[in-house]
């Protein structure tokens, strides 16, 4: 590879605008691949992009997450749901190595990530967004995405200071790529605005754009619809499916908005008190008594 070129030359692609309120998503039936894991039929013969085996973490005696077994297919949109405090975000923090697991294994595309740091996990293929948005608020929208493209550029410090040809080439290509990502999320007109000045919904979109810029094979979205109105949520839903179809990546999302989860997720994992209480397709989850009990309590579940 020549210096200054981008590692992944494929353009992010484009999609047409248009906002039907509900969307049709192609969903394959789930098939068992191990005793505890299911994958969509089309991904079943390939290595799952993510596999957690007996994953757990203990905070001062409290088992925040325990015995977490999940597999996610290479092009699956999966949902992680559960009541507040069930340990959903903790699982994201374990997957990205913000927290170190107390026990268990995380396999990313079949490779153990036990010794990796957060940054290395990202380079290996996991990108994420945050529940409480974590943008670089004082930098421009464009710069936020350029920071996401950091590891896609490969000129060194010397090249940067001396402004060698590789610097100019990589910067130009990166800017073009960044603008393409921004236009996917209708943020291209705001490229030069400060990220912190964007409205809430746009900030959430920018965070997804930044995560995508790191060229992941698994995207983790932590409550992407939080604080959005129904029309924004509908657009988001569409965007998530488009991301999967354009980039051919897997997406795992935490969400409280049930319409979103039931609409677009193929496999859903329900968590309560750090343990999986149910796994399956949206239909299976909807009718599962344990799930209803977790959300409504025992009495509420009885009344239903």
């Amino acid at each position: 590879m020549t210096e200054g070129s981008l590692k992944n030359m494929n353009p992010p692609g484009t999609w047409e605008a248009g906002t039907p309120p509900t969307i049709k998503v192609k969903k394959d039936p789930l098939v068992p691949v191990t005793r505890t894991s299911y994958l969509p039929e089309r991904d079943a013969d390939k290595t799952p992009i993510l596999e957690c085996i007996d994953l757990g973490i203990t905070f001062g005696g409290l088992k925040a997450v325990d015995n977490f077994n999940v597999a996610i297919g290479r092009t699956e949109i999966a949902g992680l749901i559960g009541p507040n405090g069930a340990g959903k975000t903790t699982i994201f923090n374990l997957l990205t190595k913000v927290y170190q697991p107390t026990h268990g294994t995380i396999l990313l595309d079949g490779k153990d990530i036990a010794t990796m740091s957060t940054a290395q996990v990202n380079r290996a293929g996991i990108a994420r967004t945050f529940q409480n948005i974590r943008l670089f608020h004082n930098q421009t929208v464009l710069d936020n995405v350029l920071i996401g493209l950091h590891n896609e550029m490969d000129y060194g410090m010397g090249g940067a200071i001396l402004r060698l040809p590789g610097y100019w080439r990589a910067e130009r290509i990166a800017k073009e790529r960044a603008m393409e990502y921004l236009s996917l999320f209708h943020l291209d007109q705001h490229a030069m605005d400060l990220a912190g000045s964007l409205p809430y919904g746009a900030q959430r979109r920018l965070e997804i754009a930044r995560a995508l810029a790191t060229n992941p094979s698994l995207l983790l979205l932590d409550e992407p619809a939080a604080g959005m109105n129904p029309s924004e949520t509908a657009e988001l839903m569409e965007n998530i499916v488009k991301i999967r179809d354009t980039f051919h990546i897997a997406i795992l999302l935490i969400e409280h908005d049930m319409s979103l989860v039931m609409n677009i997720c193929e496999g859903i994992v329900v968590l309560n008190f750090g343990r999986i209480i149910c796994k399956g397709t949206p239909d299976e989850i909807r009718s599962n008594p344990a799930v209803i009990e977790a959300y409504l309590g025992r009495k509420g579940a009885k009344k239903l």
Partner: protein, 292 residues
């Protein structure tokens, strides 16, 4: 026996650091600022006590009380004029202002009292002979250690038991929430500065009793060392400041005696660095991880 003598001098030096550090840690805990002017308040306390004893002819104790009163007023004034307007400003702006206040106090002292060192008369003189005169402990050492313990216990009770003390703790944790609970945040911060400055005055008198040369720069290094002590023990923690101050004094005295006079400060700072690497929040501080 020699070791014991070094230890005693270390503990009494450490007690002075501890008294300054107690004031520092309270101010830091509530205002979250590196108050570089704190050391200069010590110097002002020293001068006021010196002048009161010399010109008014009052007893040492009264001179210290006068110094405490002056420093309390000074502390409250500094806070109200220089720091309060910057409460929502970035911390670096507050830091630079504190440096400005420090320069201001030092240069005012230089203009008023001149650069020549003043010979401070110790608040108490004489020594106590122990082990048939093999170990002599000056009364000022005993007084310093006693003062330090009384102040430490007093502050612990004050912040733990009284209403005002609880208000202080609330403000240091979350000013907004404290205000919503009906606590007058400005008054609480003023009070903290008042206490810190009064302690600085006591420390000034004791410091000058140990090394009687009083100059406009007298307070700078003890101020920095006391802050080091507060960080060492875990900033914001009253027992931490006490422990940090004593340990710092002992390490300094022993390093000076057994390793090198020239490198004593370096050794103190090196110990601080090692402690912070092992315990990032100091000896008694609580380490909190950022929530993701």
């Amino acid at each position: 026996m020699k070791f014991l003598a070094y230890l005693v001098s270390g503990i009494s030096l450490g007690s002075i650091y501890a008294i300054i550090a107690l004031g520092y840690t309270m101010v830091y805990g509530i205002a979250k600022m590196l108050n570089f002017a704190h050391g200069d308040v010590i110097m002002i306390g020293g001068y006021v006590s010196y002048l009161a004893a010399k010109n008014l002819g009052v007893s040492p104790l009264v001179s210290v009380l006068i110094a405490m009163a002056v420093c309390t007023v000074l502390g409250i004034t500094i806070e109200a004029l220089a720091y309060r307007p910057l409460r929502s400003a970035p911390s670096l702006a507050v830091l630079i202002t504190a440096i400005g206040v420090s320069y201001f106090l030092q240069n005012s002292a230089l203009l008023i009292w001149g650069a020549n060192p003043k010979a401070y008369t110790p608040v108490i003189s004489g020594t106590l002979q122990l082990f048939d005169g093999q170990l002599s402990v000056s009364y000022i050492s005993i007084l310093t250690v006693a003062c330090c313990i009384v102040i430490m216990v007093g502050l612990t009770l004050f912040t733990g038991k009284t209403k005002m003390g609880k208000a202080m703790r609330a403000c240091s944790e979350d000013k907004g929430a404290a205000q919503l609970m009906g606590i007058n945040v400005n008054r609480t911060i003023s009070l903290t500065f008042a206490i810190g400055s009064a302690l600085a005055a006591i420390a000034g008198a004791l410091l000058c009793s140990f090394s009687p040369a009083l100059m406009p720069t007298t307070g700078s290094m003890p101020g920095i060392k006391a802050f080091t002590a507060a960080v060492f023990g875990g900033i914001g923690s009253i027992p931490g400041a006490f422990l940090g101050g004593i340990l710092l004094g002992v390490i300094e005295a022993l390093a000076r005696a057994y390793i090198s006079t020239q490198l004593s400060n370096s050794i103190v700072f090196a110990v601080l660095i090692i402690v912070l690497l092992v315990r990032p929040a100091g000896l008694l501080g609580k380490y909190t991880q950022e929530k993701v």
